[in-house]
Assembly symmetry: C2
Homo-oligomer: 243 residues x 2
């Protein structure tokens, strides 16, 4: 069934009124009155609608059913990544959104090779990648992409979640299985991963001090753009969101 | 510790003799006699060695310890993908090798958009991507990339594994959790995923008939290059290989 995010849609009195880009989409798909579609409010709710009228100015549809978007996981995952080089950011955003992350943030850390003066400038493009991935994968929200700032700010964000996972490739760590099995019913979680060069030991120490779980994901060394996707997949699996 | 695959290395009588490219690597890294390194035989065994001599012609090292490569998972996973377009193959190979797959095969199926006359021509490049990913992630083997041929051939390969998972986005399916929890001690597994357009219903029927598990990975629609990586991650997690 065709599916739309409702950027320009009003839902009032059991009717959905679409204008602008969204109305254009309906016309492009040549939907006819009587045909069904899903309008998603971008906040996790799906409106199943039946098309009543589609003309040049606007589209009107009758709301038949209102349900939580079934593609939204039961856990809100914030992915926090040390800013990588080049288009690795794009890859992280696209794949983490598909895998089920609710929010993606980049931060500056000690071993970041990429040091853009104004990462804020990239936010528009990053957000567009998230939006496209959300639409394509049938998400009920458009995950937000943002710039967390310095490492300490990122730790602070992670620390506000019920479960904070810090992926680290050496030293004393907890097994990811053990941590996730003990926390399979969390509603909010953060996954923190490093840039190309990983984290400096003092950064791992800081993460430990603020109370994040320092986790191992096995003996294979994952690239900085691979680790977040593997971690989100494992978390979705462990919380029953991959079935 | 520096780590080498042993393409040109002979191990005899407690000594490892490296020539050619591998010997060059040792020289480039400016390792000195007395320093330690790991030489991996590409079949899952690591030789911890101490450098004795490195000159223009060859490198000699004393074997100190022989251990199974700790990065190799306890399950051998064969990933079978409907041939996707463009460089999505490269992405699948790189990420699945990092995540722990032991073998990657592509096949032709009903909805494949990419229909190269001679996929065999690409094998050399694909194999090189696997080799680079294996080295970078510290694998103990270089996973083989190959062309499975027609869809029926791919099913045949999958069916020879202890556990065969067929990822499908619609219809009657088993939850991935349920299947993996009941099979967490398997030694060989296959993951079958479709090309851009997914599988045709008759292809899913065939998979069901030969006895593969038709699995759901949740309500989010994963791109053809994302699904294999998410599936390998879930399988590694469920079999205790992500800790």
């Amino acid at each position: 069934m065709p599916r739309f995010f409702m950027a320009g849609t009003n839902i009032m009195g059991g009717m959905a009124i679409m204008t602008g880009r969204d109305a254009e989409h309906v016309r492009v798909l040549r939907l006819r009155p009587g045909e069904d579609m899903i309008i998603c409010d971008g906040k996790g709710t799906d409106y199943k609608c039946r098309l009543v009228k589609a003309d040049r100015e606007q589209v009107e549809a009758e709301v038949i059913e209102v349900v939580p978007c079934p593609a939204e996981p039961t856990v809100q995952v914030t992915v926090l990544c040390g800013l990588p080089k080049g288009d690795r950011t794009d890859y992280i955003i696209q794949k983490c959104v598909e895998a089920g992350a609710s929010e993606i943030m980049f931060f500056q850390s000690d071993r970041c090779v990429a040091k853009p003066d104004k990462p804020e400038k990239k936010l528009e493009r990053w957000q567009r990648i998230a939006e496209e991935a959300a639409k394509q994968s049938g998400r009920g929200i458009i995950p937000q992409v943002s710039w967390a700032g310095e490492y300490a700010d990122a730790l602070n964000v992670a620390n506000q979640k019920e479960l904070g996972l810090f992926m680290y490739e050496t030293g004393e760590r907890e097994a990811l299985n053990t941590v996730l099995e003990a926390n399979s019913d969390v509603k909010t979680a953060a996954i923190v991963t490093g840039p190309e060069g990983g984290f400096a030991p003092f950064e791992a120490d800081l993460a430990r001090i603020v109370g994040l779980h320092i986790c191992s994901m096995g003996e294979r060394i994952l690239r900085c753009e691979t680790a977040p996707v593997v971690a989100v997949s494992a978390l979705m699996y462990a919380t029953g969101n991959l079935s």
